[in-house]
Symmetry: C2
Subunit: 294 residues, 2 copies
DNA sequence: CGCATTCTCTGACTAAAGTCAGAGAATGGA
DNA sequence: TCCATTCTCTGACTTTAGTCAGAGAATGCG
């Protein structure tokens, strides 16, 4: 499998990467072209450009000066924060970017062009599959404090979604609580999944001595669904739990969360009688962990 | 479709390209690392390195000097041609290359690692599909003289293959001839397919006034089979024929060439009575061209 | 043999990419 | 209000990458 992946890497970076760069670079240095592209039609903060392109601040500043001198970009300090400056495309800059756009289209067409209709369809669908799975593989899962901004953002999004999906809304105050300190080791733990340093999912665990631990706050961002991330979070929670004297995991869920219920069933959880009085729950699940051999 | 391809290009060059370069570059410039890799365990002529990496001769020489200074490479002039020099890895160079190899493995593993077994299988198969189709799309087909070295190589390989596959061998002298001048415009034409400037297929056409033209020398290199290249060559021959006062294409083939026969049938050729006395032919096909609207 | 060509190399460049230190303005929290 | 921090910018570098011209040895062909 590794050798397959390596072959792919070689072939694709050669064919696609070279083509892409060649078309992106008109007569302008690649760095400038990339920046021009990244600024986009609505402009962008210098700060966010630096983060997105991962450039040295001095270098970025110089690239902006070059684009300014070419009359393609205007940088102004308008905004709430007086330190942050915003780069915007001028009319000439927009025209230039449109040209880059056309070139990227041409590059893509030059790949499709020699193929038959059925080959094109197969290529595009295989590309979509590769892209999705590469995205899935780029997701990082790490233990973080529930107080971490990314974790907070996840829980907030999770509650919002419950509010929209439950028949009569969702009020966190009515639900059984899971306090921060209950999901910080050794009392428990909290996992956050990120894609390009943006939070796209979470899941928590509350330990109860050597009794069953509770799975809480399992959530995956809509944009990241279909990547198997829910299953991955769940299995990483189980893997972490294995380091504790825990023999089983428990969780409860609402009847309107069909994907979640199906995830639990296919992950080895079996439905059990209610083990708590969570008012929003319709189903209770439990899975026995075996700490035995792999 | 174009936008799909562009998304793929972006995602893949980011994820794969960056990863690859980062791992390939240890502390050494990327150019040197690539060269070290390309020299390979058995050494390589400077001349072929220049062709493969498409480098300026001065630049390549300088890179070799740098690798020599680092004790990784030895360049010596041993060989039949006293002008050509050969670069070989020293023990240290081999060790360094092995390290690069390990790193490329690690890079590939880091892509597979976060995925489940079924996701990995899907990724690898989708990668193989993308790679194959990109290869198909990288094939260039062009009209060339039958006397062109690439064309000669194709015809030679074609005859060799017929010799191996026909029940009683193949002797070009016994077969109906197709002379060079018969496949040079306007008498006819000859197409050569190349992949990375290596010949991988061919096909010729002999015109007979406004009577049916003959398809000759249809061949695809074993390494390039399954890319739909035969069908592409055939349809490009038909497209070229459309510029001539030709109403039909004809061809004959041997019963042992099953793929070819199936290609002709599925490309709209129907079997007809023998229209010549080619001794090696078992089947004769004809397709009526319509010069009408697309 | 003579001569054009091929091959590799060095010297002398340029342009692009990227790094590092620090200055100056603005912000935010104690 | 003070002080650490953030953000952008300039100046002063280095390293890579790549180009171009031409020299010198070897080869191949007529």
């Amino acid at each position: 499998m590794v050798s397959q992946v390596r072959r792919f890497n070689r072939t694709v970076t050669q064919r696609v990467g070279a083509l892409d760069d060649e078309f992106l670079a008109r007569d302008r240095p690649l760095g400038q072209a990339r920046l021009l592209w990244e600024i986009g039609p609505d402009g962008a903060d210098v700060r966010s450009l630096r983060a997105r392109l991962d450039l040295d601040s001095g270098y970025l500043s110089r690239l902006l000066r070059a684009l300014e001198a070419a009359g393609l970009v205007a940088v102004d300090g308008s905004g709430a924060d007086g330190r942050v400056r915003t780069a915007r495309l001028t009319a000439a800059g927009r025209a230039e970017r449109a040209e880059l756009d056309r070139r990227a289209d041409t590059a893509a067409e030059s790949i499709l062009d020699p193929l038959s209709a059925s080959q094109r369809a197969r290529l595009v669908s295989a590309m979509a599959e590769v892209e999705r799975l590469l995205m899935a593989s780029a997701v990082k899962v790490a233990v973080r404090s529930p107080a971490d901004p990314a974790a907070r953002a996840c829980v907030r999004a999770y509650f919002d979604e419950l509010g929209r999906r439950f028949d009569h809304g969702f009020d966190p105050g009515q639900s059984l609580p899971a306090e921060d300190q209950e999901m910080i080791p050794p009392a428990g733990l909290f996992l956050v999944a990120t894609l390009h340093s943006e939070a796209v999912g979470c899941g928590g665990l509350k330990f109860h001595g050597d009794g069953p631990a509770e799975v809480k706050r399992m959530w995956v961002a809509p944009a990241a669904r279909g990547l198997g991330l829910g299953r991955r979070l769940l299995s990483e929670l189980e893997a972490h739990a294995a380091a504790y004297p825990v023999t089983a995991l428990r969780l409860e869920t609402n009847g309107s969360l069909a994907e979640a219920i199906s995830l639990y069933r296919t992950s080895g959880y079996r439905e059990v009688d209610a083990f708590n009085d969570e008012p929003y729950a319709h189903h209770w699940f439990e899975k026995t962990l075996d700490h035995g051999v792999a």
